[in-house]
Amino acid sequence: MADAAGVPIGVSAFPAASENRRHTLLVRLTHWITVLCFFALLVSGLEIVVSHPRFYWGETGNILTTPLFVLPIPSSRPSVVSGYGYVLPDQNGWSRSLHFQAAWLAVLTGLLYVVSGLITRHFSRNLLPAKAGLSRRALAREFAVRLRFARPDASEARSYNTLQRLTYLAVIFVLFPLVIWTGLAMSPAFVSAFPASVTLLGGRQSARTLHFLVSLMLVLFLAVHVGMIWLAGFRTRMRAMITGRAAPQEHS
């Protein structure tokens, strides 16, 4: 390590290292807490769905009403006819508690990320696509490049392409807020204070169905996200999100 004596506090003594910086500590920290919460929410959410794997549209729905769709899985309640000859054990107690605890952590982490992202201009600098990239022709070219699954060149280790930027913005500012909203719209006490939160969605059962569908979209995002990281070089991308540094050998 070089001697930092004589360098004023707050100014990095390692210009080379700062050039190599990929993700800030806050982005990395909030990213991994979100990963943890996401898996807790996914597992507990699936357990809750198993107790009633039927989905409805409108205000009410139960085993006596016509469903919008039914998941072809066994249930943890004998009253739900699933077509399977057995009933799974009830896991809703801990699942609900874990679901809400992870939701709290995820929401607080998301709040920290969004507020700090606005202050540090993380969104406008790193995620807002350039205007030129949003023209029809530019987007079409971008799609063509991505569909060929070309291995990204070195410049992309340091910045996001237009499609990535749009996807991340959609996940952060559309899917996450939607999944929080549709979740809150299922809380009888919350909707007593804010009735529009559920009536705007078309009712309690619509909120539940939308909550499930938005979760599926988040799972789809996760699959593509991890797939892309695999394609782009799993080790270097993981290193960037864990240590914050882009890999020096990216240029070779």
């Binding site: 006596l64 709290w104 909707v191 059962q205």
Partner: protein, 252 residues
């Protein structure tokens, strides 16, 4: 480098001390204003407490949504219940003439009411949605005496903080805080959809708590106990549900 890490250390230390101090102050305030649920211990205590505290602050006076008569579910869904005891069946055979609701604990005049007596009290009706934690729901019209009226009749003492209510079915009991107990929509329901409350729906008496999930709307209630602490009821977690892994507060 050492300068920077020393500064970081001091800042982190100060933030840590402020954080712990702030949490301590928050906990004292939360206890003072009754924002801590009885099942706040354990690994999911943080989530349960955050949910309960926030919803209490947001919803202490809000009203559950009411629906037009045209939205009443026909037929409503009676959930599975454990087999009814012989003692219950004897009371049922006698038209529930001998059914009693006993009110005791921190009240000026402990009392025991027959169904006929309860039906002479002011009647309140509401068309609200009953939502099960599993996900299904239905809308019905519930008729009964506001719990607040019964508490007025027996004279609740000022130190009262919770009302514990028990089912005729063994080991089935619940409790709510005074915000819900005195809430105008919390009913000792004896009627449903224009008739008397059918047994599969909790007849002859069910406590209806529309701002919480259905498991707080206990069926076959026979005894109300007004108390300032839940420590000495069961395992001290507030109801029989937390003893099987479910949350005491079910506003979410």
């Amino acid at each position: 480098m050492s300068n920077i890490s020393r500064r970081k250390l001091i800042v982190a230390g100060a933030a840590g001390v402020a954080g712990v101090g702030g949490l301590g102050a928050a906990a004292r305030l939360a206890r003072k204003y009754g924002l801590i649920p009885p099942d706040h211990g354990g690994i999911y205590g943080a989530g349960e407490t955050l949910t309960y505290a926030c919803q209490r602050l947001l919803t202490s006076h809000s009203l559950a949504r009411e629906f037009p008569r045209s939205q009443i579910s026909n037929p409503p869904l009676a959930n599975d219940i454990p087999p009814l005891s012989d003692a219950f069946k004897r009371l049922q055979a006698g038209g529930f003439l001998d059914w009693r609701l006993t009110v005791e604990g921190m009240v000026a005049k402990p009392a025991s009411f027959s169904l006929a007596e309860l039906k002479t009290y002011p009647v309140s009706s509401q068309i609200t949605e009953l939502a099960c934690e599993e996900g299904w729901s239905y809308i019905a019209e519930w008729t009964g005496v506001p719990l607040s009226h019964i508490l007025d009749v027996v004279g609740t003492l000022p130190q009262a903080r919770y009302v514990v209510y028990r089912s005729f079915q063994p080991d089935w009991w619940e409790s709510i805080d005074m915000a819900d107990a005195l809430h105008p929509q919390t009913l000792v329901a004896h009627g449903m959809n224009g008739g008397s409350l059918p047994v599969p729906f909790g007849g002859p008496l069910r406590l209806r708590v529309p701002r919480q999930l259905a498991y707080k709307s206990l069926k076959y209630i026979t005894r109300l106990t007004v108390t300032d602490s839940l420590k000495h009821f069961g395992k001290g977690l507030g109801s029989s549900e937390p003893e099987t892994g479910y949350a005491w507060y079910a506003g979410i």
